[in-house]
């Protein structure tokens, strides 16, 4: 390890901690959110430094981008920036009278330091030494149908977890949709919001669709995959929404179907394979790549619409 790259890593780690602390301690909520978004982008850089390009792609698109939009949108709906409660730490009344040192704040601080010490000691003592599963994956990668090991684990070796993950996403969207008072989609603003933004949207949305398609295809042999593609495509959908683009009626009607498409396809595949005598999500030998591709395509498409739905949901009474 060259000392220069270690210096870079140390600087990155210090920045991550400083940004997290600054984001959480700030009195101004807007500042908190912006610092948190920068924290997300630097996390993506940390993933890149840790040889995890798939995660870096996902974090940059989902963690920094979509979460940032969600937070800013909510802040706008709350209609405030500065709240007294966001500032100094408050002790709860339950602990009042126990002595000035035994406050909740100090208890949490002490527990944190203790926990951090225990974790660091565990790491240093070799408790986490072990083989890891890289060798096991490398042995079986030939039968996986894809050569990107992360995609192989996600869609093949641990496909069951991914199936449930898509289920969780669907549940979250159902939860968000159910908290809307009205059943109709919110009325889009009449016409484009801003000519510059809609020009940008017209130019960039096709590019983003292309990038999403490439990420889906490349996920088999290079960093990429269904969720990264879905995140970029979802970003394109959010961008189009911001430009005031109203989807045609048929697409709006198909929206619900698209939301559940990924989960249903995956579930159907699992059921069909089990009915045909394979064990859970074990693909037919030699055809695994094909199965994975089509499942990933459905997943990516669904993820895009699920994420777009999460971002654009409105609670009536907030800002349109």
């Amino acid at each position: 390890m060259m000392p220069l790259s270690t210096l870079f890593d140390a600087l990155l780690a210090a920045l991550l901690v400083a940004l997290a602390w600054g984001a959480l301690s700030s009195r101004d909520l807007f500042r908190s959110i912006v610092l948190f978004m920068i924290f997300g982008i630097l996390s993506a850089m940390a993933w890149a430094r840790l040889d995890a390009p798939d995660i870096a792609l996902a974090e940059a698109a989902i963690g920094a981008g979509l979460t940032g939009i969600l937070l800013l949108d909510t802040l706008g709906a709350l209609g405030e920036r500065n709240r007294p409660g966001a500032g100094p730490v408050r002790e709860t009344d339950a602990f009042a009278g126990w002595g000035r040192w035994l406050t909740l704040r100090n208890a949490v601080l002490g527990a944190s330091v203790f926990g951090a010490g225990v974790a660091a000691a565990a790491a240093a003592s070799g408790l986490t030494d072990g083989e890891g599963l890289a060798a096991a994956v490398a042995e079986s990668i030939g039968e996986a149908g894809v050569s990107n090991p992360v995609t192989a684990v996600l869609l093949n070796f641990r496909g069951y977890d991914t199936l449930l993950e898509v289920g969780v996403m669907l549940l979250a969207v159902i939860g968000v949709l159910s908290l809307r008072a009205t059943a109709k989609a919110p009325a889009s603003p009449a016409g484009p919001l801003d000519p510059q933004l809609s020009a940008y949207g017209r130019l960039m949305a096709p590019v983003m669709v292309l990038v999403a398609g490439y990420l889906l295809y490349a996920g088999a042999h290079a960093p990429g995959g269904a969720f990264q593609a879905g995140a970029v495509l979802g970003g394109a959908l959010v961008l189009l929404g911001l430009c005031g683009f109203t989807p045609p009626g048929r697409l709006q009607a198909a929206n619900r179907g698209l939301l559940v498409l990924g989960f249903c396809v995956f579930l159907l595949a699992a059921v069909a394979l089990t009915a045909a005598g394979y064990s859970l999500l074990e693909y037919p030998a030699g055809r695994a790549g094909l199965w994975i591709f089509w499942i990933e395509a459905a997943l990516g498409l669904s993820t895009a619409f699920l994420l777009a739905e999460l971002v654009s949901s409105r609670v009536p009474g907030g800002r349109p």
Partner: protein, 102 residues
């Protein structure tokens, strides 16, 4: 100090910073941010541990776990934010304080 140990310690620090603010801050948006920071800390620990062996590539199972985790985190954050908006709409306050100070 290798990157693995450095980023694991950073992840641990982030987890506890997030935990502290999750408990200590009253504003619900702050709590949601704190929970996200805790999640990022856990992911950092997982991914840095994935690099601890000298295989042909880093251990892909923690990578898959973290990828799943990121997607689940954004879904949960979206649901939490919608709940926050609903609470704000119903009670007028973005906190759940019970001691009447807000």
């Amino acid at each position: 100090m290798s990157a693995t140990i450095l980023f694991s310690l950073t992840g641990i620090a982030l987890f506890f910073i997030g935990l502290f603010h999750l408990i200590a801050r009253e504003h619900l948006l702050k709590k949601i941010l704190a929970a996200n920071v805790m999640g990022s800390g856990v992911f950092l620990v997982l991914v840095s541990l994935a690099r601890r062996t000298d295989g042909p590539y880093p251990d892909p199972v923690p990578h898959a776990l973290v990828l799943t985790g990121i997607v689940v985190t954004v879904s949960a954050t979206a649901l939490a934010l919608t709940l926050l908006r609903r609470i704000h709409k119903e009670t007028g306050e973005p906190t759940l304080s019970e001691d009447g100070r807000e």
